[in-house]
């Protein structure tokens, strides 16, 4: 990933090891835990972050998620936007292609 946070389709994002992603029953949601806080994720954000394993490329992610969220408009753009935001926030790293 380049300095300006632009993702390429072959990039393979990976959750930063400082962050812990898990299901939390009491919130009925996936949460992201890190040293200074807790973030509650909505279902689409959870599905994206679950796939940030360093194994899957962004393009494959988009393919998988498009079938999962078939009726969401412009899903490709939203996924890129979300990942770029997550990268800027330090939630994910990029393992390159």
């Amino acid at each position: 990933m380049s300095e300006n946070n632009i993702l390429a389709p072959q990039d393979r994002p990976k959750l930063n090891p400082k962050y812990l992603l898990r299901w939390e029953k009491s919130q009925d949601a996936y949460i992201l835990l890190y040293p200074e806080g807790v973030i509650k994720l909505n279902p689409s954000a959870s599905e994206i972050l679950k796939r940030c394993t360093g194994q899957l490329s962004v393009e494959d992610m988009v393919a998988e998620l498009s079938s999962l969220f078939a009726d969401a408009p412009d899903i490709t753009h939203s996924i890129y936007k979300f990942l770029e935001n997550s990268y800027a926030k330090g939630w994910i790293d990029n393992t390159g292609c």
């Binding site: 400082k18 939390e24 919130q27 835990l33 890190y34 040293p35 806080g37 807790v38």
Partner: protein, 384 residues
């Protein structure tokens, strides 16, 4: 915060009435003698009443049932508890994000590895300066070299690390040196936390409070470093409410997301709250955590905004800062339901201005600092 003493937590999750942040003050015992320590002045009297391992485990389980997610092991010095590893393992298994908040004294290679194995997620280490002589003088013991060694060990074991630097007049001009040191060690989060003036810090306030010029300068240095370091290191700079004209949104509101359990098992909305006289502090020995959090008179006392007086009651900023800190209101105005005097709208704001003015007069005689140690303060005398 806090996690302890910290106001920088990015809580993006609305607590929905759940105590998301649970802090266990495992003991008030501590080998160091910090003159700004926010532990109670009468900390010694709690030694015999400390909860045992089984009692802490019960707290951990009940905390998860209430929806707690973030967990801090603090104190005093939590490394003095030899059951720490057991408690961390239990907490991990229950699904907490576990943080250790330590001065570093008592942390060695073996215990770090044991904590890693138990599943500890993150360590917050406190450091007071970039210079051996100054640190040792400030904490009243030879601790600087040990802290630096521990910092490197923490990174070598692969823990994310918060370096907490309590900031006051004696070290605020060292911000640059501390930044350099933190960068060299590879700290992930660097937190410059201007100290809050309760307990030992309040006793020593006149000598500890920095001047406005010092704060402005330190903040400029921090901003420059943020630019330079980008994402490599997250730097927080908690400025002192004395200079803000608005109070801090203390604990994000009383009894909304924070729950502290003191060494004797008292359930507290914040770790300072026992400075407020006339309140009762029931413990986990007599009550369930659920009752303490949801129903105890202590937690209901300043929940919401029913209790507010003017000017807070009709102020359009009350959703933002909840009227500030109840402990500070009590300590500086005598009534915990008053507006926090750090607010410029408070009729008591002059007490803050007077303290600032005293900090500014630099031609005064330095006065001795009162160290946190047994017998330094006779509290029964103060209470009468």
């Amino acid at each position: 915060m806090p996690k302890d003493g910290s106001t920088t937590q990015a809580v993006s999750l609305d607590g929905q009435g759940k105590p998301m942040w649970l802090v266990l003050e495992l003991t008030y015992r501590c080998p160091l003698k910090c003159v700004w320590c926010n532990n109670p002045l009468d900390y010694e009297q709690y030694g015999r009443k400390e909860l045992n391992t089984d009692e802490w485990i019960r707290v951990l389980r009940e905390g998860r049932e209430l929806g707690a997610l973030q967990l801090g092991f603090s104190g005093g010095e939590p490394m003095l508890r030899d059951d720490l590893e057991i408690l961390v393992a239990e907490a991990e298994q229950l699904g907490y994000y576990t943080n250790l908040i330590t001065s570093g004294v008592g942390l060695n290679h073996e215990r770090l590895q044991a904590l890693k194995k138990a599943g500890l997620k993150q360590i917050q280490l406190s450091l007071q300066s970039a210079n051996r002589q100054l640190t040792d003088e400030l904490v009243g013991a030879r601790a600087h070299d040990l802290k630096i060694d521990v910092a490197r060990m923490i990174k070598a074991e692969g823990f994310p690390m918060v370096l907490n630097v309590p900031v006051f007049r004696q070290n605020i001009d060292q911000v640059q040196q501390i930044l350099d040191l933190a960068e060299e060690i590879g700290v992930d989060y660097l937190e410059f936390a201007n100290i809050q003036y309760y307990n030992w810090a309040l006793l020593n306030r006149e000598e500890l409070l920095p001047t406005r010029e010092q704060i402005v300068h330190a903040e400029a240095v921090v901003n420059e470093a943020r630019q330079r370091m980008g994402k490599r290191m997250t730097i927080y700079f908690v400025i002192p409410d004395y200079y803000e004209n608005r109070p801090k949104a203390c604990m994000n509101g009383w009894g909304t997301i924070h729950l502290t359990i003191a060494p004797d098992g008292a359930a507290l909305p914040c770790q300072e709250v026992r400075v407020i006289k006339g309140l009762e502090f029931p413990t986990v020995r007599e009550h369930s955590l659920s009752w303490l959090w949801n129903d105890s008179p202590l937690f209901k006392k300043f929940r919401g905004d029913e209790w507010m007086k003017e000017p807070c009651r009709t102020c359009d900023e009350k959703e933002k800062d909840f009227g500030g800190c109840r402990c500070q209101a009590f300590l500086l105005t005598g009534d915990a339901a008053n507006t926090d005097p750090a607010c410029s709208k408070s009729p008591h704001h002059h007490v803050i201005e007077m303290a600032i003015n005293r900090a500014r007069s630099n031609n005064k005689e330095p006065r001795p600092l009162i160290r946190r140690q047994p017998g330094a303060v006779i509290t029964s005398f103060m209470e009468s």
